[in-house]
């Protein structure tokens, strides 16, 4: 086995952790889930900062933890780098001394090697600065340089972008992708943001209430979520209802709170109907029915949020849903809170999963 294997059961304050995860090869994976799902705990278990019982952590044939055999390597004995959410830079040490802290090898050329490492992340000129004088983005790069300074086989990143403001986040995210590709370490990123996970990782583990509920690529999770939870997380609109056989071999879903949908998925009983926001188009309230889209819901506009050249339109059916349209459509449809429009999408774009 060439990758990382983690099996752990652990009792947390208000959570029963029961995780099995197997990562083959290199590259990067993400553990994504809401806060309190136990994601950071998994990282702490891998790093040796927390000991689950029973637990097993094996990295490239090296057993780091095996509670059954009484093996438990100390954190300093595991070739594992951990970047904390708040970066945890040592406040009393300059940037280069932070990076040099974990560096093996002779003392005399440590500064040179630390500078080299800082240069990789474009922050060499900050070598003598203390962490409290650095910006969030600079701190993140110093922390990344530090966690890679020992050349770890596994790099754990706990919410690497969460401490940054929204404007730096996108840029820092792209840089992080680049940095992760440049290392030999297997990277495990923990985040609560699905799009961040999609950007940073090749494969995603979705975690909820202490368990891994689904794994796959971002595209797989979006297209074939096995639960409404994963669908919601992957950015789908989730509408709850009850499915029963409909006309023409389709499934009809009576939505809770009113409204009817059609889907090509064949399933019965309580379901979550899933559709991507960009599959939903909006038409004026009283427009004639003139498209192949079977699903038509009368909805009220709740919010309009412009993101560059597109906009997210918050709607109420009365169940909440979101449509993504171009900025041009806001004008042509006079979309503003309180407006009444019709949301339409195709039955073939409607996924049904049991609830």
């Amino acid at each position: 086995m060439s990758g990382l294997e983690v099996r752990a059961r652990d009792r947390l304050r208000d959570l029963e952790l029961d995780v099995e995860l197997q990562v083959d090869g290199d590259g990067s994976v993400a553990i994504v889930g809401p806060s309190g799902a136990g994601k950071s705990t998994v990282l702490r278990i891998i790093a040796g900062l927390r000991r689950p019982d029973p637990g097993r952590v094996v990295m490239r044939d090296e057993v780091w933890l095996d509670s059954g055999r009484g093996i438990n390597l100390r954190p300093e004995e595991r070739t594992c780098g951990l970047m904390f959410q708040d970066y945890a830079l040592f406040p009393h040490l300059s940037a280069w001394r932070n990076v040099a802290f974990g560096m093996p090898g002779p003392r005399q050329d440590r500064r040179g090697r630390a500078l080299e490492q800082l240069r990789r992340f474009g922050v060499e000129e900050l070598a003598d600065a203390r962490p409290d004088s650095l910006s969030g983005g600079e701190r993140q790069r110093v922390a990344l340089a530090r966690s890679l300074a020992r050349d770890p086989s596994v790099l754990l990143l706990d919410e690497p972008l969460a401490a940054l403001d929204t404007r730096t986040r996108a840029h820092a995210g792209r840089e992080l992708v680049h940095a992760l590709r440049g290392t030999r370490a297997l990277a495990i990123v923990v985040t609560h943001d699905f799009s961040e996970a999609a950007m940073l990782a090749d494969e995603i583990f979705v975690m909820d209430e202490g368990r891994i509920v689904q794994r796959g690529t971002a595209a797989e999770l979006s297209a074939r979520p096995t639960s409404a939870f994963v669908a919601d997380f992957a950015g789908s609109v989730v509408l709850n209802g009850t499915a029963r056989p409909g006309a023409d071999g389709l499934t009809q879903v009576d939505l809770d709170g009113g409204g009817v949908l059609q889907s090509t998925d064949l399933i019965r009983g309580p379901v979550a109907a899933l559709v991507f926001p960009w599959e939903i188009s909006l038409q004026p309230g009283g427009a004639a029915h003139e498209s192949s889209a079977l699903n038509r819901l009368a909805v009220d506009v709740i919010s309009v949020t412009e993101i560059g050249n597109r906009a997210r339109i918050g709607l109420s059916s009365p169940q909440p849903l979101v449509a993504e349209v171009t900025v041009e459509s806001i004008r042509s449809l006079a979309l503003r809170p309180g407006a009444r429009v019709t949301a339409t999408w195709k039955a073939t774009a409607t996924r049904l999963v049991p609830r």
Partner: protein, 266 residues
């Protein structure tokens, strides 16, 4: 109007506190000319007392810091049964009257005390000896340091220690390289408090070690010895002690904020 009255009240309270606490110190220097201070240094017994005070307080402080720092770290970072009992026992000397502390030391380390014969067998003499002064100072000053250091260690971000471990540091190295510097400012103010308490120690020293010039007569004891027959000389020595104490405390505080001790400067 009522808000203004409240603000005035606050300032009045602060003024009263300040006046009451500083006036007596100001009075010492009103009665003592700089010439008196210098001439008091010229006297052998004053020089002996000052030198002894410095020697014994530094020795006591060294013992307190070397043994107390790891102990405070343990108390701050580990949960164990009876921890709060231990903390209370350690803080007990804080509320002990100095006379009681002196008696307690005699009862344990004196010739007739609990460990008296054991110490005697080991050839260790404490009572009426300089070593006895150090024991007394350590006993009364240690809790001040332990309290501050414990608080400072408890405030150190756990993530910093965890980060050090994942960067290859053993627990001991993380303690020395991360916990101690991060707690630097709290440790420095603990040292300042303990040092101040040790320099001012009077009752326990007098009862346990006596007042012999050059051997156990620290500055406070020398002041008391002069007090009955030469008030001016006692005043001058007091002024000297105020200056020395203030200078020591100030330098420790400044050092705690500097990068050398690693106090996280803002």
């Amino acid at each position: 109007m009522r808000r203004a009255a409240f603000a005035v009240g606050l300032f009045l309270a602060l003024f009263l506190v300040l006046a009451f606490l500083t006036l007596p110190i100001v009075a010492i220097f009103v009665h003592t000319s700089p010439g008196d201070l210098i001439s008091s240094l010229g006297e052998q017994d004053a020089r002996d007392a000052l030198w002894l005070s410095l020697k014994t307080s530094v020795a006591a402080l060294a013992i307190i810091v070397i043994v107390g720092t790891p102990a405070a770290y343990l108390l701050a970072t580990r949960e164990f049964r009876g921890r709060s009992v231990v903390v209370t026992l350690i803080e007990l000397p804080l509320v002990l009257p100095p006379a009681v502390a002196g008696i307690a030391l005699l009862a344990s380390f004196g010739p007739e005390g609990l460990f008296g014969s054991a110490l005697d067998d080991a050839g260790i003499q404490l009572v009426l000896q300089t070593a006895g002064v150090i024991v007394a100072l350590t006993f009364v000053a240690a809790p001040f340091y332990l309290r501050q250091a414990q608080e400072a260690f408890a405030a150190v971000d756990r993530n910093l220690m965890d980060a050090a471990r994942t960067l290859g540091a053993t627990e001991a190295r993380a303690f020395i390289r991360v916990a101690v510097p991060s707690a630097g400012q709290g440790i420095a103010s603990g040292i300042a408090l303990a040092w101040g308490r040790a320099l001012g120690e009077f009752g326990a020293t007098l009862m346990f070690a006596g007042s012999f010039q050059g051997i156990t007569q620290t500055v406070p004891l020398a002041i008391f010895a002069r007090f009955s027959d030469d008030f001016t000389a006692a005043l001058a020595l007091s002024g000297l002690l105020v200056i020395v104490s203030a200078a020591l405390l100030l330098s420790v505080k400044v050092l705690g904020r500097s990068p050398i001790l690693g106090g996280g400067a803002p």
